[in-house]
């Protein structure tokens, strides 16, 4: 308990907790739409692109957050467009991006004389790297994501369930997909600095998978995923502070335990 009270007296921990909680809510809301549209791996691909972009930014001495954000947004839009037009399958495109970005990241980190610790920070996150700017950006992102879902709820549901019908109704499906891809990219970039590139996608995918085991009402499911992601993030941070472990890994493990509990509840309901 001493570790916990020490953590709460550390402003850096409190800032990370607040920023992470805001990002987790965004991840939950975006995740359910990505998973239901079979784009779950998009977030995974984007985190790897983010790792590559951060390495490039460090190598060139550019501002990592802005550069990574631009690269991830462009990558997300490009991937969506290419897969929509059938130029490349989304899973192949993501695999291509993942491998290329990691290779670029590793080579540039070695070239720039960066340490392995720095590369590990890209992969697994670093709570100490979060600044006040990150917190402000997380708050702004959370506001944008919630406003988007409140305003476009019917259209997102229509497109997620049946994009062909949505197109026939005159809904600009491409525009809404681009909006979702941009929000996903920004969420990934902000989240990966805290949780790490390899672990961030779990925060997007796990809440959606957990909710889909128990809930068959889209509106309730959307709210559930946001609250689930928030609760698991806070839970993971507390465990991390209590045991002195990596916060990214703890958050993912708490997500995993809760997901397994949802599977168990679903199984018990069916018996």
């Amino acid at each position: 308990m001493e570790g916990l009270s020490q953590s709460f007296s550390d402003p850096l921990f409190c800032r990370s907790l607040a920023a992470g909680a805001l990002i987790a809510v965004c991840a939950g809301l975006i995740g359910i739409n990505l998973v239901l549209r079979h784009y779950a791996m998009l977030s995974d691909g984007l985190t790897h692109v983010g790792i590559g972009a951060m390495s490039v930014a460090v190598f060139l001495h550019w501002a990592p957050i802005w550069f990574t954000m631009v690269v991830c947004v462009v990558a997300a839009i490009l991937l969506l467009r290419l897969s929509e037009r059938g130029v490349i399958r989304s899973d192949s495109g993501i695999a291509l991006m993942t491998a290329s970005a990691l290779a670029i990241a590793l080579v540039l980190t070695q070239f720039s004389g960066g340490s392995e610790d720095q590369f590990e920070d890209f992969l697994f996150g670093d709570m100490l790297s979060l600044s006040s700017l990150d917190l402000a950006l997380a708050a702004l992102l959370c506001l944008c994501v919630i406003a988007t879902f409140l305003l476009c709820y019917r259209k997102f549901l229509s497109i997620t369930f049946d994009a062909t019908f949505a197109r026939a109704c005159g809904i600009k499906v491409g525009r809404y997909n681009t909006l979702l891809a941009v929000l996903a990219a920004v969420t990934v970039v902000l989240g990966m600095r805290l949780l790490g590139g390899l672990l961030m996608s779990a925060v997007i995918i796990f809440p959606a998978l957990a909710g889909m085991q128990l809930i068959h009402n889209y509106k309730v499911l959307t709210i559930f995923t946001a609250l689930y992601a928030l609760a698991c993030f806070v839970g993971g941070m507390l465990v991390s502070a209590l045991l002195g472990l990596s916060c990214g890994a703890c958050v993912v493990l708490v997500n995993l335990v809760c997901l397994l509990a949802c599977f168990a509840i679903k199984h018990l309901r069916q018996v």
Binding site: L36, R154, K155, L157, S158, F161, D162, T164, F165, A166, R167, A168, C169, G170, I171, G211, M212, I215, H216, N217, Y218, K219, L221
Partner: protein
């Protein structure tokens, strides 16, 4: 009667590659057109072009009688959708209005329209069930109800007649809606489409492989094959042309479904 949709030398296809060329047809309000043909003959491509999902590659495709895009409803093939989608039936039926501005109707009006559409397909009791709990046939009827929502939606306006005329569904497009349905539900769905056409005055365009039912229910037939358009005209004429005669005799007997004449009698007409 006013022309609601006409196509003159239309060219249809994907990404600039023509699949159907020199397509000509004309529908007046209240027509019931069945598009029949083999797999790959371009039936869905034609529908998706009418719906504005695909661009017209050549010729002319004109909406008439003041028809606008928001007055067209669509029932896509069932294989487009996720059968275990986590949503309530009512939520999915409500998406039938997703293309309309939200300010044009109240939540109560939308719920009323959804219940009316569900009643029309005989699934009013399923409104609060999970979509994934329904059978394939019931899910197909939910997609039908979703397409009908706008037909039952009363607008929130001081001048209801004006906006109602703009919003109400006037053209219903169905892409193989009978796939996966058992004979009983097929018949009830055909009866529903007949009612929508006869009583509500909707113009219907339906793609189907069931030529037998097409000639019994539709007023017009458009036959497509790999070479393009083979026939367009009334269901009665279709059965008395050589090509229609052959198809009908192969699939459903020797008498015209409209006039009852033996099909041999008119064979050879084009």
């Amino acid at each position: 009667m006013n022309t609601i949709l006409s196509c003159h030398d239309g060219v249809f296809g994907h990404e600039g590659n023509p699949q159907l060329e020199t397509i000509n047809f004309e529908l007046v309000c209240g027509d019931y057109l069945c598009i029949v043909g083999e797999n790959g003959s371009g039936k869905t491509t034609l529908l998706e072009t009418i719906l504005g999902i695909l661009p017209l590659l050549g010729g002319k495709l004109d909406f008439g009688d003041g028809l606008n895009a928001s007055q067209i409803s669509y029932v896509p093939q069932q294989n487009h959708i996720m059968h275990n989608f986590p949503a309530k039936v009512l939520e999915l039926v409500q998406t039938g209005s997703a293309g309309l501005p939200r300010r044009d109707f109240s939540k109560t009006d939308l719920n009323r329209a959804c219940h009316a559409a569900l009643a029309a397909v005989g699934l009013i009791s399923a409104a609060h069930l999970s979509f994934s709990a329904l059978s394939g046939g019931e899910q197909q009827r939910i997609l039908m109800a979703r397409a009908l929502v706008c037909a039952f939606l009363k607008p929130q306006t001081k001048d209801p007649s004006a906006t109602q005329a703009q919003m109400a569904t006037r053209l219903l497009i169905l892409d193989e809606p009978m796939n996966g349905l058992d004979p009983k539900f097929k018949q009830s769905l055909y009866d529903l489409i007949d009612r929508l056409c006869d009583k509500q005055g909707l113009t219907i365009i339906m793609v189907t492989h069931d030529v037998n039912s097409a000639v019994r229910h539709a007023s017009k037939i458009l036959l497509l094959d790999e070479q393009g358009q083979r026939f367009f005209g009334s269901a009665h004429q279709f059965q008395h042309t050589r090509i229609g005669n052959e198809i009908i005799r192969d699939s459903c007997g020797s008498h015209c479904a409209v006039c009852g004449m033996e099909l041999d009698a008119g064979a050879g007409e084009e």
